[in-house]
């Protein structure tokens, strides 16, 4: 089949942009957005969910009442017209607090991911390109990976001071290996690519070679891995806050809101619900959107979505009705998108 597609590329005078990298770029262009949504509605939906959560937490605090205004008379109320999500033990509006906590939690997650990506790319690329360094770097990464993320983060937080910066730095270190390993594997593979060797033969220096030829070509893989790191960072941050480490009240995070709410489970059972939903929604959205985007970027990892499969079956049936070879159509099973 590949030879067919190669021939296909040559037929017209236009410039077809095939290839996995281009596929991702295509999906991002506005004109193709509709097509992307139609082709892969699940990925589009979960991406939209996450985008909505980000927008809400960015813009929400400007519209909603203050998240810190206490009203001792209105403590632990259930959802009502005035307080949609109810109030907490100090009479603060839970809706406002959940939305504001989103700002903090999502922000911490983003910073953690950025730190992990920067350190991971640096370490992974160095280890893969300069072989002697790989033993040191990889063992260091293995060392970090040997601990459960939460335990290591707790240990780091106890050593560092409690606070947003410590959480970000601590979790950044914890998640660096997840990026570094992916980068290491990709760079190791790309190093053997013809165009990288060709660039060396063209007199391109190693640093430039990595920056121009290698890293852009592993960017999709890094991007996808970063999405999963983001999701894990959200969970880790929430767990730390829940345990009372990391960001301290009165600054709300989804984790410490749940941590407080659990004391009032019997009095105000809806209190714990909303920050919980926020965590679940954002982590689920990131994971599912990440899965879909990975399939989009790397067609080899693509499984036929059930919707595509049903559509193909239907197309085959229609054909089968017209053609003499109708039996053939029914028998086909598990044909992949390739």
């Amino acid at each position: 089949m590949t030879e067919m597609t190669t021939a296909a590329a040559g037929a017209g005078a236009s410039v077809p942009t095939a290839g996995p990298a281009a596929a991702a770029a295509r999906a991002r262009r506005p004109g193709q957005l509709v097509r992307f949504v139609v082709r892969d509605p699940s990925t589009a939906f979960w991406s939209a969910v996450f985008a909505a959560m980000v927008l809400l937490s960015l813009l929400g605090p400007f519209v909603l009442p203050s998240h810190s205004a206490m009203e001792p008379a209105d403590r632990l109320l259930g959802p009502s017209g005035e307080h949609w999500f109810g109030t907490d033990e100090y009479g603060r509006d839970i809706l406002a607090r959940t939305v504001y906590a989103g700002r903090v939690s999502l922000g911490i997650g983003l910073l953690v991911t950025l730190i992990a990506v920067v350190c991971g790319v640096l370490l992974g690329a160095i280890a893969a390109w300069w072989k002697p360094t790989s033993a040191v770097v990889l063992r260091l990464m293995d060392g970090i990976l040997a601990f459960p993320p939460i335990v290591l983060a707790m240990a780091l937080l106890v050593t560092l001071q409690n606070g947003i910066i410590s959480v970000v730095v601590g979790l950044g270190i914890v998640f660096t290996p997840y990026i570094a390993r992916v980068v290491y594997a990709r760079v190791l593979a790309l190093k053997e690519e013809g165009y990288v060797t060709a660039a060396t033969a063209s007199g391109v220096s190693p640093v430039r070679n990595i920056l121009v030829h290698i890293l852009p070509n592993c960017a999709p893989a890094i991007f996808i891995q970063a999405i999963f790191v983001y999701a894990n960072a959200l969970i880790a941050d929430a767990s730390l806050s829940f345990l009372g480490l990391g960001v301290q009240p009165p600054t709300p995070t989804w984790g410490n809101m749940i941590g407080e709410a659990r004391y009032f489970l019997s009095v105000a059972p809806t209190f714990i619900l909303f920050p919980g939903i926020a965590i679940i929604a954002s982590v689920l959205a990131l994971n599912l959107a990440g899965d879909g985007l990975r399939a989009l970027i790397d067609p080899r990892a693509r499984a036929v979505s059930s919707l595509q499969y049903i559509r193909r079956r239907a197309a085959r049936r229609r054909r089968g009705g017209r053609d003499a070879a109708s039996g053939a159509a029914e028998a086909v099973s598990g044909a992949s998108a390739r």
Partner: protein
């Protein structure tokens, strides 16, 4: 009615947008004991046709066979996959191109053969497997049965594949380019085995190949496919001597011929194969055809009988038959240039190189890729370096180019010895440029052609970005590409075009030595000629020397001034093409030559 009968057979590809026909109007019939070769370049639909009729492609791709296909009177397309499985098990055997991929790496050979056997118990299957292993010429059949696929060489794996295809005594054998990945001496043996088995078992056999020379050796009948259609079918001898379709004729003309030297231009087919799914008014070959007339542009030619056995789909077959064969320019014996007195520009002396690989936790395995190799390349010389896989030819090229370093021995280019010093490395890179084998991997998919071509000029030639980009246009015309391709990304180019771009990149800084590592082995024969012509033209225009690394002995004998033959990490013979052809001094060279003659026309 033939034993296998295809009538108006086609293959449709289903996509989200609808379906498109990749193969159409295939009418073929095949008798028991007959071997039909389907010949065509990549994208011609030859594999698609033969695997679809066995209904094998439906598992992995969204294709549907249409039309009529009958084996021994049984309609193959009407059956469901369960019934088809029974037929595939007993009546149809398939040998795939990549034996390493077709064999399960985690199962012993014996288990795989026994698993493939139908209608016999384990003991009978084991006995039969053993007998077949002997039949296909595997030394120590009992021992081999206990091995895993990776412990066997490519040739041995392919023999196992053949044994596996034969274990149920099929009446139809489909062989899909079974020798393409193999060395020429191994290929000759595998071809003989398939021919033997087919003859003694009175099987019908469809043999798919892109190499018309292999087809000439194997076939009773040859069908030529082009862009998803059969354009000509005839008994082998008749087709080779009296081709009636211009495409067949051009394919024959494009083959490097045995025994010629000093060729200065190869015959090629200009243009590209149209996408098989494209609806075309008229003949699909019209744009590339020298015989095309008005009727070719308005009406689609059908496959019509020329004589009793011979069919061709061309409006102008009389004209095609009347025209003589075109010859490669300059193709006379004794025309390769004598370079003995010229200055030496690159020299390898007593170069050795080993690779260490971990065989297990304790043991490490050392492979000697080069074992005391000495070679001189002279100014303006076209030196061909021939060898089979694992002979060390690529390693020698990479060491000369400074991409790898030798364990022992000295390498020098233009009098400067290779060293790790920055200035020395720069000097080396300025003098030596490389064109790599795989055209698809050699260009960064994210850069435009202009950026790729400019890279050496900026980093080695000392040109500014603007100057380099301006000169890129000039280089494009030198390698015969239109200038507007400069702003395209590699994905938009065909393999041959990409290879031209990498030649343009290599010559951009006017190196003294151009190392071309199998630059045409991934390309079709009609495109191979185009690339060779670019290289040969450059030789006329500049004083660049070539180290042309290849496994294709015919090709290099056609054009080289001198040829070096490598085997097992040593250079076993160096000489002019005439010397090599006329009086080969080593047994190995003689074997290479013999294998080449066998599969050529």
């Amino acid at each position: 009615m033939g034993f296998l009968e295809l009538r108006d057979f086609g293959v449709d590809l289903l996509t989200d947008e609808g379906s498109s026909r990749l193969v159409a109007q295939v009418d073929l019939s095949l008798e028991r004991g007959e071997l039909l070769c389907i010949v065509g370049e990549s994208g011609s639909g030859k594999t698609l046709t033969s695997l679809s009729l066995a209904r094998l492609l439906e598992y992995t791709s969204a294709t549907v066979p249409v039309g009529h296909a009958a084996l021994d009177g049984e309609d193959l397309l009407g059956l469901d996959q369960t019934a088809m499985n029974r037929i595939r098990g007993s009546e149809i055997g398939v040998v795939f191109q990549e034996s390493m991929e077709a064999l399960n790496p985690s199962c012993r050979i014996e288990d795989q053969l026994v698993e493939a056997a139908r209608r016999m118990d384990r003991e009978a299957a084991r006995a039969k497997a053993l007998r077949l292993m002997e039949e296909v010429g595997i030394p120590d059949p009992a021992g081999t049965l206990r091995k895993y696929p990776h412990q066997l060489s490519g040739g041995m794996q392919q023999r196992v594949m053949i044994a596996m295809a034969l274990i149920n005594d099929p009446s139809l054998l489909i062989a899909d380019e079974p020798t393409t990945a193999l060395d020429v001496t191994v290929q000759a043996e595998i071809l003989r085995i398939i021919r033997n088995e087919q003859a003694t078992r009175d099987m019908a056999c469809i043999f798919i190949t892109h190499d018309i020379g292999v087809a000439a050796y194997m076939a009773d009948r040859i069908a030529v496919m082009y862009s998803g259609r059969v354009v000509e079918a005839a008994p082998a001898q008749e087709l080779l001597e009296n081709p009636r379709h211009p495409y067949t004729r051009r394919l024959l003309e494009c083959m490097p011929k045995v025994g010629r030297t000093g060729v200065s231009r190869f015959e090629t087919i200009p243009g590209r194969v149209p996408n098989p799914s494209l609806e075309i008014i008229g003949c699909r070959f019209q744009d590339r055809c020298a015989f095309a007339t008005d009727v070719c542009r308005t009406e689609t030619p059908q496959l019509l009988p020329v004589s009793a056995q011979h069919e061709a789909a061309c409006w102008n077959q009389e004209a095609v038959a009347a025209a003589g064969f075109a010859e490669d320019a300059g193709a006379e014996p004794g025309r390769s240039e004598d370079t003995a007195g010229r200055a030496v520009i690159a020299r390898a002396e007593d170069v050795s190189k080993s690779y260490r690989s971990r065989a297990s936790l304790r043991r490490s395995h050392v492979t000697r890729a080069l074992d005391g190799v000495s070679l001189e390349i002279r100014e303006g010389e076209f030196l061909g370096l021939v060898g089979e896989s694992g002979s060390g030819k690529t390693t020698l090229g990479r060491i000369l180019a400074g991409i790898e370093t030798a364990d022992a021995g000295t390498v020098s280019v233009q009098g400067h010895e290779h060293s790790r010093r920055r200035a020395a490395v720069r000097e080396l890179r300025r003098n030596v440029q490389v064109v790599f084998q795989n055209p698809h991997g050699t260009l960064d998919p994210r850069l435009t052609i202009r950026e790729s071509v400019s890279e050496p000029m900026i980093h080695l030639g000392g040109l500014s970005k603007r100057q380099a980009h301006a000169r890129a246009a000039e280089l494009m015309s030198q390698v015969g590409l239109p200038e507007e391709y400069l702003d395209h990304v590699p994905d938009a180019l065909s393999g041959g075009q990409k290879q031209r771009v990498s030649i343009a990149r290599a010559i951009s800084i006017s190196p003294a030595l151009l190392i071309a590592d199998e630059p045409t082995s991934a390309l079709d024969v009609s495109v191979q000629g185009q690339i060779m012509n670019v290289l040969l033209d450059l030789r006329e225009q500049t004083s660049v020397s070539y180290l042309f690394i290849t496994h294709n002995l015919n090709l290099v004998l056609n054009v080289a001034d001198r040829v070096a033959v490598m085997h097992g990490g040593r250079i076993v013979e160096v000489g002019t093409p005439e010397e090599i052809i006329g009086s080969p001094r080593t047994e190995y060279t003689r074997r290479l030559l013999a294998a080449n003659v066998e599969t050529s026309i």
